[in-house]
């Protein structure tokens, strides 16, 4: 009760600080000096503090299971473990928006503190554009999704958090993902500010790069955690399903990845300024688009919270106001500086530009695949869903040239490349990669020119990046780590796809089933009473070809609040391969439906995603050393 009211009023206070800022900022803009009025920074700090207070109040309401709060009532339950009571705060629509708002304000505060060397007006305008987004979120929260709605009479018990969300990976997945999404809001606001102040130059790029990389790191880790959760919890037996919501997180990621590359060109060579601006504006717009598509309930997926058309219309209008106003600012106010036209065909700039084109291609494939069903339904009243074959067909062929450019690009020079650098060694390495890929495929009796070339070029990138680590002059350590991570990612995804095996069958207790690579024996079943669910664990003995035995214990969880059965896969993870077993009840019989999969290199997929992010992190430490 008390905390709900505290939270609600401090939320309103936060909005009031936004309004107070306007006259203060207006006054400060007229004064010509180098530093921002300290009051502005203090007001932002107070705003941050009041929203933090509001967020903490919501967390405490969840911890105390205060069911007079509607959000708590809808998403919590007294028997839930404390950890999931806390993570339940952002496991729902209202709470997660409050968290977003908190991150928005936190980031602009950090921006104001770290940008002291930059022009005053640019900083103030960044603050203004960011405040427009912040006010939008405030209004959205207070009008359509207040987290502090009061319930009377007070219910004695809550409805419970969706069991599939009760997972450690998922407890930290949303906050990290939001840090990534919202991080791009700073990139968005400061790009618009830079346009108005005519500050789009290499100095701007150098400072903004840190924000781009920061949000890229969070987004990478956030997506990876989501993928790990889907693999372990949903029991679908894969790491990526081209689910609309996964795509929505991938789009800003692709955009930010392109931006990281183009902003480097702007920093080093003062080229591609307009292109960089377009990318910075679109990455936040795409994030907001994602919020809209998920929260309005237009798309159906595991992430859709209770949908309410009113909310959808609010986000839609807000989103298009952002898009239209940034379009106006870009087209009317932006005066591009003259760029020196000295581009050679073979230079680092060209290869980065090519990288950007590929990224845009990947992005548009994902975008079309995601929104096409919505357009089709409105225009032609047909319901379709776009599945993995669409993406595989359009994305995989383009991977080959992409990978090859990625190997050649980083080793070329700025401005003009000397052809002597492309030497026999590199060509030899390429031939070795192709040969190796042919041998691998030959061994498993899978042939095909395209697959050979694909694995060959992935191996080529792998070898080249490994080779580059041994060059003494480590200029671009973070780029090397990330590219190495990417080559490992592509390799492990392809090999995982080729070498995975699967079988599905119905089996009774005590039965044995022989399959292609061994046999499986269903030994027994036990059930345990847990804090908020009943756990049913099956014991399976699996023997494979080499007579090695393993035991797998998949589990069914029968939750009481809300009444849902989830199946927890049992996964034996090893360095090279995962063994994955999941079971399900067959209604009205004593059979259990089981699915057994061997998935090689799963671990490597997570590891390489981590390496990608590490590459970004190294960028910050390495600079300090210099």
């Amino acid at each position: 009760m008390l905390f709900s009211q505290l939270g609600y009023y401090s939320l309103i206070l936060g909005l009031i600080f936004s309004i107070i800022l306007i006259p203060v900022v207006h006054k400060d803009l007229k004064i010509v000096n180098h530093s921002i009025n300290l009051n502005i920074i203090n007001i932002v700090f107070l705003q941050l503090f009041s929203v933090l207070l509001s967020f903490v109040s919501l967390v405490l309401s969840f911890v105390n299971s205060d069911f007079s709060n509607e959000t708590v009532y809808n998403n919590s339950h007294t028997t839930k473990p404390l950890f999931y009571k806390i993570s339940g705060t952002w496991g729902n629509h209202e709470g997660s928006l409050l968290l977003c708002l908190l991150v928005l304000i936190l980031f602009i505060y950090i921006f104001l503190l770290t940008s002291k060397k930059e022009p005053k007006k640019y900083r103030i305008f960044t603050l203004l554009f960011q405040q427009i987004i912040i006010i939008g979120f405030f209004l959205f929260l207070l009008i359509t999704s207040n987290p502090f709605n009061y319930l009377f009479p007070i219910p004695t018990e809550g409805l419970g958090l969706n069991p599939i969300l009760q997972d450690p990976a998922l407890a930290i997945h949303p906050p990290i993902l939001y840090l990534g999404y919202i991080g791009s809001s700073i990139v968005f606001s400061s790009s618009l500010a830079a346009i108005t102040q005519n500050y789009v130059d290499n100095k701007w790029a150098k400072n903004l790069k840190n924000w781009v990389i920061t949000s890229w790191i969070f987004l990478t880790i956030g997506i990876m955690l989501g993928s790990i959760w889907a693999y372990y919890e949903l029991g679908w037996g894969g790491f990526w399903f081209w689910d609309p919501v996964e795509n929505i997180s991938l789009m800003p990621w692709l955009c930010l990845t392109a931006l990281i590359h183009s902003i480097i060109v702007l920093e080093k060579r003062s080229l591609l300024a307009s292109w960089t601006l377009i990318l910075s504006i679109s990455s936040f717009t795409l994030s907001m688009c994602g919020t809209f598509l998920v929260r309005s309930g237009i798309l159906n997926s595991v992430h859709t919270f209770a949908s309410d058309p009113k909310r959808g219309i609010f986000i839609l209008i807000f989103l298009f106001i952002l898009i239209l106003s940034s379009l106006f600012i870009f087209f009317i106010l932006y005066k591009p500086k003259k760029e020196e036209q000295k581009n050679f065909l073979f230079s680092k700039e060209t290869s980065i530009l090519l990288n950007n084109w590929f990224m845009m291609y990947f992005l548009s494939v994902v975008l079309i695949g995601t929104v096409y069903p919505i357009f089709l339904e409105v225009i032609a009243h047909e319901k379709i869903s776009v599945g993995p074959p669409f993406y595989n067909k359009l994305l995989i062929p383009l991977l080959v040239p992409f990978l090859i450019i990625m190997t050649v690009g980083p080793n070329t020079k700025w401005i003009k490349n000397n052809f002597k650098l492309i030497n026999v060694k590199l060509i030899l390495l390429f031939l070795i990669s192709i040969l190796l890929s042919y041998i691998i495929l030959h061994k498993i009796e899978l042939r095909g020119l395209f697959t050979t070339v694909l694995i060959g070029s992935a191996l080529y990138l792998f070898f080249i990046t490994v080779k580059d680590f041994f060059i003494k002059n480590q200029i671009n350590l973070s780029q090397k780590i990330s590219h190495f991570g990417f080559s490992l990612l592509v390799l492990s995804i392809i090999l995982n796809g080729i070498f995975s095996t699967e079988f599905i069958t119905n089996i009774k207790i005590g039965e044995k089933y022989d399959f292609k690579y061994g046999s499986i024996y269903f030994e027994k079943i036990n059930s345990f009473k847990k804090q908020n669910y009943l756990s049913v664990v099956g014991t399976f003995r699996i023997q494979d070809d080499n007579n090695s035995e393993i035991y797998l214990k998949p589990e069914l969880r029968i939750f009481n609040q809300p009444a849902i059965i989830t199946s927890e896969a049992d996964i034996k993870t090893s360095f090279y391969s995962d063994k994955f077993l999941v079971m399900n009840l067959v209604k009205g019989s004593d059979f259990y439906n089981i699915r057994y999969q061997t998935k090689p290199f799963m671990m490597w997929i997570w590891l390489s995603a981590l390496l990608l992010a590490t590459g970004g992190l190294v960028n910050f430490f390495y600079k300090k050393k210099k």
Binding site: G297, L324, V378, I379
Partner: protein
């Protein structure tokens, strides 16, 4: 000049996107998972409407035929609309239509049948709605197409229309 045309072009495109999203927001996006089709019908027993004898579903769906199980009620307006289609289908000897009278009053149900005709070879009653829930029904009317192995071939939520009639005829071939 070129810049301006480009801007106008983009704005038109953006507004078009806005329109599409706005339209799809107002659309009902209640997603009906088609999980029941292909599954076996769970068995149940019910009393018949006219002579109150108890019947088990296992005996009911035992012949080598296609069965149509229609959940209906006299108070349900869309049921009236689809009743003609059922009458039409009842002339086809290769399909047997069974009615499940959902939460209805006996006298009203009888009036309904007398007035509009009886397409059903048998009518079962589901006075408290529990059988329909067990069958996974969302409401009335709802139609299940079942084969002799009691596998649900198709499920129609809401009244039948020409399209669904065509699909059913295709199944009978």
């Amino acid at each position: 000049m070129k810049k301006k045309t480009f801007l106008i072009f983009i704005i038109i495109f953006v507004l078009f996107c806005f329109f599409v999203f706005f339209k799809s927001l107002n659309k009902s996006n209640i997603y009906v998972p088609n999980t029941t089709s292909g599954k076996q019908l769970s068995s149940f027993s019910a009393k018949t409407l006219f002579n109150n004898e108890k019947i088990n579903s296992d005996l009911l769906f035992s012949e080598n035929k296609i069965y149509l199980l229609n959940i209906w009620a006299s108070w349900c307006v869309p049921c009236r609309a689809e009743h003609d289609m059922l009458m039409q289908l009842s002339n086809n000897p290769s399909i047997e239509i069974i009615g499940l009278n959902y939460k209805d009053d006996f006298i009203n149900a009888k009036k309904f049948i007398n007035k509009l005709g009886n397409p059903y070879s048998r009518i079962l009653t589901d006075k408290d709605g529990t059988i329909s829930i067990a069958l996974g029904a969302y409401g009335v009317p709802e139609t299940l197409i079942i084969d002799k192995n009691k596998i649900i071939l198709k499920k129609y939520i809401g009244p039948l229309n020409n399209q669904s009639l065509k699909e059913i005829m295709f199944l009978l071939k």
